[in-house]
């Protein structure tokens, strides 16, 4: 990239950029930090940018997703790579990126289809990407797509790649149900048996209970507790009431409905499902009434728990994909990027009692790393696994006691203002295809910043295993 590109980038913005501009040419590196202190002191309304010296800026050119559908609906006959392929072709269509430019493709997924265990590669090949573009699949529970993106960020920042496609996919309509271990062992041994006698003696060991199938685990491996159960306990630990949870879920659905109706969910691309109609929008958004919601029985801790089907995210099919580039590459190719991907942070904590508190831990750390405060954030996009989880995180972030005793902080993290929080709905209403949600969060933050104005977005999510993630998204100057 040359200095020449700067005027283009900076022109549309007001004088605040001009000030930075005046400093830039002094340095050899195009990424030199723009002396934030000076900027702020000169013009208080202006926030610094988060560029770092000697590190390449990474931008999101654009991102798309298939409509997120309740599992068992229109996508039920597909395989995961079909959905992923739909997201990839949608991205190609939206960005018109020449396929040969893409250096690398990374996808996140959680429940793996064994036939396509590297679903990124299968989908890329099918979508018509160059067979010279390598692809790999990552898994990190609900933050798998986040991991795909940040892996891409790492590859670009370290100069290994210039153009990355990152995404995620989950198809909960079909999950791998296996033969039992005993049956598998018998079958494998039969494979190896050489003589008829050996085979017969193996077959004689067969028992009917070998046929009992093995379902994929829904519970946490380390604690044998399902996530809903843990969420219910978490809500109880923070004294989150059923009503609060239902109210929050209702908010999510209402906002999602509004965003859908107003056409704000611009990352959704239509998907013509083979043998079925074209799917154009998410089908899990169902604003209900508090009275209706209050009628539901608890889903996990029976009969007195507070987490119900109505205030939990539902099983979802869907895929997402994003085009990530080094800033200079994007500009050289004539793109107008949507956002920078800035500092990010992974955290992990006790998978039993703090399974879903990732956002609480990750948020202050990523803010500190970026030198920002809660007040600097204009758009919050948090993954909503359960209403109870979001509200428990709120209470944890708002508690000095929790900050002192569990986070090693002197004061509380602080509450994200609700008017800036998940304004276009969240996982509760839009759906949560485990492997794909991360990209949706980032695109929602980027699109909201463009639409609503503001410079910084904060994306945060919790994940099975007691892990969490947060990332700062910075609006690309218009």
């Amino acid at each position: 990239m040359t200095i020449l590109t700067y005027p283009f980038k900076n022109l549309p913005t007001a004088s605040k950029w001009a000030l930075r501009f005046s400093i830039r040419p002094l340095s050899c590196s195009s990424q030199l930090r723009a002396a934030p202190g000076t900027v702020i002191s000169v013009q208080t309304k202006t926030k610094k940018t988060l560029a770092k010296p000697n590190i390449r800026n990474v931008v999101v050119v654009d991102g798309v997703r298939t409509p997120f559908l309740l599992s068992g609906t229109s996508y039920k006959d597909l395989m995961p790579h079909d959905l992923a392929r739909a997201a990839l072709t949608g991205l190609l269509h939206r960005t018109s990126v020449p396929k040969e430019v893409v250096d690398y493709i990374i996808f996140g997924t959680v429940i793996q289809e064994v036939k396509t265990s590297n679903v990124a590669r299968e989908a890329a090949l099918g979508a018509g990407f160059s067979d010279k573009t390598p692809a790999h699949t990552v898994t990190m529970a609900c933050i798998s797509a986040n991991q795909a993106m940040t892996t891409g960020v790492g590859l670009i920042a370290s100069g290994q790649c210039d153009v990355i496609v990152a995404g995620g996919v989950e198809l909960m309509s079909d999950v791998p149900i296996r033969h039992s271990r005993k049956m598998r062992k018998l079958m494998l041994d039969l494979n190896k048996a050489k003589s008829m006698g050996q085979r017969l003696s193996l077959i004689s060991k067969f028992r009917f209970n070998f046929l009992a199938p093995e379902l994929p685990a829904v519970s946490e491996f380390s604690t044998s507790e399902t996530m809903g159960h843990s969420a219910d306990r978490l809500a109880a630990a923070f004294a989150v009431s059923r009503l609060e949870q239902d109210e929050y879920a209702l908010r999510s659905h209402s906002l999602a409905k509004k965003a859908q109706d107003e056409g704000l969910l611009s990352d959704v691309v239509p998907f013509k499902v083979p043998g079925k109609d074209t799917v154009t929008k998410d089908n899990g958004i169902r604003p209900s009434s508090l009275e209706q919601m209050a009628k539901l029985k608890p889903a996990f801790i029976k009969p007195y728990g507070t987490v119900t089907a109505a205030n939990s995210s539902f099983l979802t099919d869907g895929a997402s994909a994003m085009l990530i580039m080094a800033e200079e590459k994007a500009l050289a190719m004539g793109y107008k990027p949507k956002a920078y991907l800035r500092d990010f942070m992974y955290v992990s904590q006790d998978p039993k009692d703090q399974l879903l508190l990732g956002p609480t831990y990750a948020t202050p750390k990523v803010l500190e790393k970026a030198g920002l405060t809660m007040n600097d954030i204009d758009a919050f996009e948090f993954h909503e696994a359960f209403s109870g989880q979001i509200l428990a995180n709120f209470k944890a972030m708002d508690s000095d006691w929790f900050a002192e005793n569990y986070m090693g902080r002197k004061t509380k993290v602080g509450l994200p203002p609700l008017e800036k929080f998940n304004n276009w709905g969240g996982s509760l209403s839009l759906g949560h295809p485990f492997g794909a949600t991360g990209c949706r969060l980032v695109m929602a933050a980027a699109n909201r910043l463009r639409k609503e104005g503001g410079q910084y977005g904060l994306v945060a999510a919790c994940a099975a295993g007691g892990q969490g993630h947060a990332m700062i998204v910075e609006a690309y100057p218009k």
Binding site: T223, K352, K395
Partner: protein, 740 residues
């Protein structure tokens, strides 16, 4: 033996605390009771639900003392009288304890049978009022709910328990030689069925909450909560209370039925028990089993069956009467006094009298991956100690690591651990053949073969690699610690830690100090032992090394000498016998070392070689006598002396000699207190718990009678039976007791 098992369970409950009644005095002082802030119980009303919170002052546990009884009755009367209140919740404010049982000291203070019976009858009356309450009462149980606590809970209309490891329900009275005396013997069979109720009452076993739910002992479970806006324990109790209040309301509104759906098996059992013939068979079977296991040494189990039977066959009134009478009788027995004494001793031996060590032991290294070494490793890793297990050969190391894994895996099979927990615990263990990592060790425990020169060698090797603060502990059962320490550069850091085999089952740890052992070293050793969950006695090694535990090999009561020798290894036993022979001379005479020598030469090394006194096969539980032993035994047989060889004499020969040795240990200052001696004898050496330990036995049986017996055996066998001076002193002055 039931009692053996029973005693093992004792350690798990920390019931029965000494009563401190500051509040009581305060109450007497002001005279009026109704207007006062109560000290054991406070209650508040939430809506139309009364929440009764039990919190005995100055104690970690709530016990049913007289004060608590009276405050409780008072509060309940207020609740029943109030128009505003429609239901109640009974809960404890103490984390980890609902009600741990009756106040043991209140029982001990009773002088007569009538007093005890009366206590029982009073308790029966209170719980009966609870049971007949027209306002539903919900017992919200978090932590131990034992003995009288359980009896209170089962008389409530509904029970909700936290699914916590600390929440256990049970009737441990039998372990103290008594029976549930507040209606438990009558209500429990109705609630969980006769077989399950008898099992609970006869074994005294503690039942975890999830199991209790399955049995129908509790109606709902509440999951313990993690951190929130308050400490987890505090919030869990609060949450339990909230849940209990909703259920109390539901019960009062008749939206929830206190009746429980019984499973098919339960229904069938209940039906079968309505047939008199079946009932008789059940009683007979249980009685037979109890007789076989207790060998008539423990009166409590049979009386429990009796009382249950009376209640079922003759109705509750007869049952309650029988219960209170038998309760009184049992509490007054020697056995009960002995067992209660043991309980107190055990509480004592769970404390570190040396105080906190300067440095916590976090990294442990164990030399020798044999039965003992691996056993020590197992009880260490599962308490989170980073442990190195070192042996000289890969084969030995493999076997040791497998033993640790198997020990943990057995817990998984019993659902005491999850497979994940097992794996993460097992990662605390490092098996290795060299001294790598010893530079980080805070303590090294050697469990190598009982050979002084070998022990000297490893001590020197280890001292070359360990840091200055590291303690060297020897798990020897025969060699004097001071001799082992003789080659040490830092004898103040050398100590004996004698574990008992199998280490994961035997609760006792005997810590042996030499004159040079520093106080901090002792403190560290005790701290490690307590962490490993052991009951600890500390003995001093004199100039002339004599050790209480040397008796192990000759008096293995619970397993029998032959089995014990097989378990530890015949070669080891031979070695030990030779060493002890050298040290003790006549005092340790009696056995014939030639026997062990011959066995070793034939390759009968015990369990590890497959043959010893018995024959051992993998996967086979039954033990057959090793017929090849006959010839060896025949060749060495001594002619029995008829005048001192009745069955009773043989038993007394064992017991009196043992008692004599124990008293000598106290006399010589090897033992610090009689309590430690009793605990050591019962937990480590299998001294019959019903006798309470050698010192308690002398107190209860009479020193004079023991001395007489010893003198008789001395005449027949010689000096090993000569009564020691302290015992003779006690015999001469009948008022002298080990326990005042």
């Amino acid at each position: 033996m039931v009692a053996c098992r029973a005693i093992g369970i004792l350690s798990r409950f920390s019931a029965f605390r000494i009563l401190r009644s500051r509040g009581y005095i305060c109450r007497n002082f002001t005279g009026s009771s109704a207007l006062l802030t109560r000290t054991h119980i406070n209650y508040g009303v939430k809506g139309d639900v009364a929440v009764v919170r039990i919190n005995s002052p100055n104690s970690k546990v709530n016990t049913l003392s007289k004060e608590l009884h009276s405050e409780f009755s008072e509060v309940m009367n207020e609740i029943w009288a109030s128009d505003q209140i429609r239901s109640a919740v009974l809960i404890s404010s103490k984390p980890g304890c609902f009600i741990a049982g009756a106040d043991i000291n209140m029982l001990a203070a009773c002088k007569t049978l009538q007093e005890v019976t009366q206590l029982s009858q009073e308790a029966q009356r209170i719980v009966e009022k609870l049971e007949k309450s027209t306002k539903p009462i919900v017992a919200a149980i978090n932590g131990s709910c034992l003995g009288g606590g359980l009896e209170v809970a089962i008389s409530c209309q509904y029970r909700i328990a936290t699914k916590d490891r600390k929440t256990v329900l049970g009737t441990p009275e039998v372990l103290l030689g008594a029976l549930p005396g507040a209606g438990g013997t009558q209500r429990l069979p109705k609630m969980v069925g006769v077989p399950a109720a008898l099992d609970m009452m006869l074994t005294g076993r503690s039942i975890r909450a999830d199991r209790a739910k399955k049995m129908g002992l509790v109606d709902q479970l509440v999951e313990p909560l993690g951190p929130g806006l308050k400490p987890p324990e505090e919030r869990t109790i609060e949450y339990l209370e909230e849940v209990a209040i909703t259920f109390a309301k539901g019960l009062a509104d008749k939206k929830i039925s206190p009746k429980r759906d019984k499973g098919l098996v339960e229904k069938l059992t209940a039906y079968a028990m309505t047939i008199p013939f079946v009932r008789q068979q059940v009683y007979k079977k249980v009685e037979e089993k109890v007789r076989k296991q207790t060998k008539g040494l423990y009166p409590a189990p049979l009386k429990i069956i009796d009382v249950v039977k009376t209640g079922i066959e003759q109705g509750s009134d007869a049952g309650y009467l029988c219960e209170s009478q038998k309760f009184g009788e049992l509490v007054m027995t020697k056995e009960s006094k002995a067992l209660m004494g043991l309980y107190h001793g055990q509480v004592l031996c769970k404390k570190n009298k040396f105080g906190a060590p300067q440095k916590d032991v976090k990294h442990l290294a164990i030399l020798g991956a044999g039965l003992m070494g691996a056993g020590i490793a197992q009880v260490s890793v599962d308490k989170g100690l980073k442990t190195i297990l070192k042996d000289a050969t890969l084969t030995a190391l493999d076997r040791g690591q497998q033993q640790v894994f198997k020990g943990l895996n057995d817990k998984v099979k019993k659902k005491a651990l999850t497979s994940f927990e097992r794996d993460s615990i097992f990662s605390n263990l490092t098996g290795q053949l060299d001294y790598q990592g010893f530079e980080k060790a805070d303590m090294v425990i050697e469990a190598v073969f009982e050979d002084l020169s070998l022990k000297h060698r490893v001590l020197k090797e280890v001292e070359a690699v360990i840091p200055d603060h590291c303690i060297f502990a020897s798990n020897t059962s025969a060699l004097p610690i001071s001799e082992i320490a003789a080659v040490s550069k830092r004898p103040e850091k050398v100590i004996g830690m004698h574990y008992f085999s199998p280490v994961d089952k035997m609760q006792l740890l005997e810590i042996i100090t030499t004159e040079k052992t520093s106080k901090d070293t002792s403190a560290s050793a005790v701290a490690v032992g307590l962490k490993q969950g052991k009951v600890i006695i500390v003995v001093k090694e004199g100039v002339d090394p004599k050790k209480l535990d040397s008796l192990t090999t000759s008096f293995g009561f619970p397993v029998g000498a032959a089995t014990l020798v097989d378990e530890v290894g015949v070669d080891v036993a031979k070695h030990v016998a030779e060493d002890l022979g050298k040290v003790f001379g006549e005092r340790f005479g009696g056995g014939n070392p030639e026997l062990l020598t011959q066995m070793v030469s034939k390759g009968f090394l015990g369990r590890k070689s497959g043959k010893g006194f018995y024959i051992y096969q993998e996967g086979v539980k039954r033990k057959d006598l090793n017929s090849d032993m006959d010839s060896i035994l025949a060749s060495l047989k001594l002619p029995p002396k008829s005048e001192v060889s009745s069955d009773e004499d043989i038993q007394f020969r064992l017991v009196t000699r043992f008692v004599n040795e124990a008293v000598m240990c106290l006399q010589e200052g090897i033992l610090a207190t009689p309590a430690e001696g009793d605990i050591g004898a019962v937990f480590g050496l299998g001294f019959p718990p019903c006798l309470g330990g050698p010192f308690r036995f002398v107190d209860l049986y009479g020193a004079q009678k023991i001395v007489d017996r010893l003198k008789k055996y001395e005449a027949a066998y010689g000096k090993q039976f000569t009564p020691c001076q302290l015992l003779a002193d006690h015999a001469n002055s009948p008022n002298k007791k080990f326990y005042q």
